[in-house]
């Protein structure tokens, strides 16, 4: 299923000499095709995360709409949009995002537990193995390193085999070996039919991507 952004922009208010408003993302048309890995790079502060959050249904765009297939994300009510994200959009946010009161395994199962869906240990464990932290299944997040937490977030995003995968710098904090493992994993998801977006500063990422876009001051362009 394709994820499309039609004329989306995001405005913020900010004190400045010229004007109090500025656009973190300027009006953008953008499609994330199924089965492809799309990479976005760009300077820090150029609006990559803002765009990704709008695509994820987490941040309402100032203009435009976001469509998953035929569904306009922001036309749905909060409960419907949340459920849709839970089932179809895997998000790997920037930073560390594990819940401290849950173990590693419980954190990975979270998307299913949240809606009361049965989940065996099998799938989450195989995901933990693929990201290399299976041994930590019963540890709590405060016992994990930054890189291990990143990988935990990746495993969690993949649990429901989402049609869309949005990864915001998933390889920051990772060593070379793990960086490649994660990139391979994302590539594999694309090959299995998911629409994958990878926001990254990583040079090596380009070899895994079908398409590389460049973001600069809120404007997206082909590199």
């Amino acid at each position: 299923m394709e994820l499309r952004a039609e004329g989306v922009s995001r405005r913020y208010f900010r004190q400045s000499k010229l004007s109090n408003v500025f656009f973190a993302v300027k009006e953008t048309n953008f499609a994330l095709p199924a089965g492809k890995l799309t990479e976005i790079t760009g300077r820090s502060g150029s609006g990559k995360s803002t765009l990704l959050h709008m695509l994820a249904g987490l941040l309402a765009p100032t203009t435009g709409r976001v469509l998953l297939g035929d569904t306009d994300l922001y036309a749905l009510d909060d409960a419907e949009r949340s459920k849709l994200r839970n089932e179809h959009i895997g998000v790997i946010p920037q930073g560390q995002t594990a819940l401290r009161s849950l173990t590693v395994l419980e954190n990975v199962k979270l998307p299913c537990l949240m809606y009361g869906d049965e989940v065996s240990d099998e799938i989450p464990m195989s995901l933990l193995e693929r990201v290399g932290i299976a041994a930590l299944r019963d540890a709590y997040p405060n016992e994990l390193s930054g890189g291990e937490l990143r990988r935990l977030a990746i495993a969690r995003a993949l649990l429901r085999r989402p049609r869309v995968l949005l990864a915001d710098e998933p390889t920051s904090n990772l060593d070379d070996e793990n960086t490649h493992a994660v990139l391979r994993l994302l590539r594999q998801c694309a090959d299995e039919g998911a629409a994958v977006l990878l926001v990254t500063h990583e040079r090596e990422a380009a070899e895994y991507a079908d398409r590389v876009l460049y973001m600069s001051d809120g404007v997206l362009s082909a590199e």
Partner: protein, 400 residues
């Protein structure tokens, strides 16, 4: 729902110190309101029972009564006392206009020496005319109180052989009365002839309570005023026309207690309000501080697909667990203070004090807990709104 419950419990368990602090704060709510209202209700209850036990409109005592105790100190505080006048006063009083029923009573203090089993107040009544003690006795004892029979107040310990010795005479305990929360609970009751016999033997043993004829002694006269007569008028009439006695309206005895009760209730009320304001304010601040610390956690839940409703439910569950556990702990603590130390409360307040019955207490407990849970959850709900409505996209940018 199960998810929210599980996660709440895990959240609370993973932050034991924070959880304990919140539980203790919430406990103050139910502790103060349950404990406070229990004490106030016990006081009201005590006043009501005192009023009922007094049962008379006017109480007449000899003028010199003050030197060896007053009706107040005997009936209310249970301090043994005695004072006497001749039976002829009873006749003079009972014929005054407006006196519908008059009944003599007789107070004798037992000595703590070897002649008596216990040092208590003994109150005698005339079975023929009595209208204030017998109705009460009938609540716990159906038979008549014959010569030599004793009825004891609720705090008197009855010996195994059910016999009490006063001034070397042995008497049978035939019944025990219900609690009143007043000095009456520590008194022993007998009919007139029994108590006069006691007075006589006390005189023989050298106690000089009364110089007159013990067989003609009485201590007070209880009066019921007839319809159509003003209680105050009748009391004044007795004070003017019968010398050497003092007629007091029961109402004025009660009103001094009622005044004390109002003061104590007001102090307790203010304390409860202050505790509530403080506890709720601190809870509010605590919840706001906690919610700042938790914005990230909630953003993560949103990312994974939690709706605003789920977040609200999660917060509500946590706050209900916290305030519920807190309310139960607080009420239990209040019960541990109020029930075992009831005697202490009573003594230090010097007011009639009678715990409400189990039904009322249970209702009070339920109400206090419910109110505390409600207040606690509303306080957290105030901070919840902000937490839930936070823009996830914005929070995730702040890397932690």
């Amino acid at each position: 729902m199960k998810f929210e419950k599980d996660l709440s419990v895990k959240n609370l368990k993973r932050k034991p110190a924070r959880t304990a602090a919140l539980v203790i704060l919430s406990a103050f709510l139910s502790f103060s309101i349950f404990g406070g209202s229990l004490v106030v209700m016990s006081l009201q209850n005590g006043l009501k029972s005192y009023e009922a036990r007094l049962g008379a409109d006017i109480i007449v005592v000899p003028n010199q009564a003050r030197s060896h105790g007053t009706v107040d100190s005997i009936l209310l505080q249970g301090i043994p006392g005695y004072f006497y006048m001749d039976e002829s006063y009873f006749e003079k009083i009972s014929v005054r206009e407006g006196v519908e029923i008059a009944s003599p009573q007789f107070f004798l203090a037992s000595a703590s020496a070897g002649c008596c089993s216990v040092a208590v107040q003994i109150i005698g009544f005339d079975p023929e005319t009595d209208f204030s003690i017998q109705p009460w006795i009938r609540e716990s004892y159906g038979g008549a109180v014959g010569d030599g029979d004793l009825i004891v107040g609720s705090s008197i310990e009855i010996p195994a052989n059910r016999k009490l010795v006063f001034y070397n005479n042995s008497y049978n305990v035939v019944a025990q009365l219900d609690e009143t929360g007043t000095g009456l609970d520590t008194a022993v009751y007998a009919n007139m002839s029994t108590i006069r016999e006691m007075l006589e033997s006390s005189t023989k043993q050298g106690f000089r309570y009364y110089d007159g004829d013990p067989a003609r002694a009485i201590s007070s006269v209880m009066i019921k005023v007839g319809d159509g007569y003003g209680i105050e008028d009748v009391a004044n009439d007795i004070n003017v026309h019968v010398r050497k006695v003092e007629a007091t309206q029961a109402k004025s005895m009660i009103s001094s207690i009622a005044g004390g009760l109002t003061n104590v209730s007001r102090v307790i009320g203010v304390l409860v309000v202050v505790i509530w304001i403080l506890a709720l304010a601190i809870l509010m601040v605590a919840f706001v501080m906690i919610s700042n610390e938790r914005t990230k956690e909630f953003a993560v839940l949103r990312v994974v697909g939690a709706s605003e409703k789920m977040l609200k439910r999660l917060l509500r569950t946590e706050s209900i667990i916290i305030s519920g556990v807190g309310a139960l702990c607080g009420a239990a603590a209040a019960a541990l203070v109020v029930f075992p130390f009831g005697g202490l409360v009573k003594r230090s307040l010097d007011l009639p004090y009678l715990l409400p019955d189990a039904g009322v207490t249970a209702a009070l407990l339920f109400g206090s807990v419910a109110l505390s849970v409600l207040a606690g959850s509303l306080t957290s709900a105030a901070s919840a709104r902000r937490l839930v409505k936070n823009d996830t996209g914005l929070i995730l940018r702040e890397d932690a």
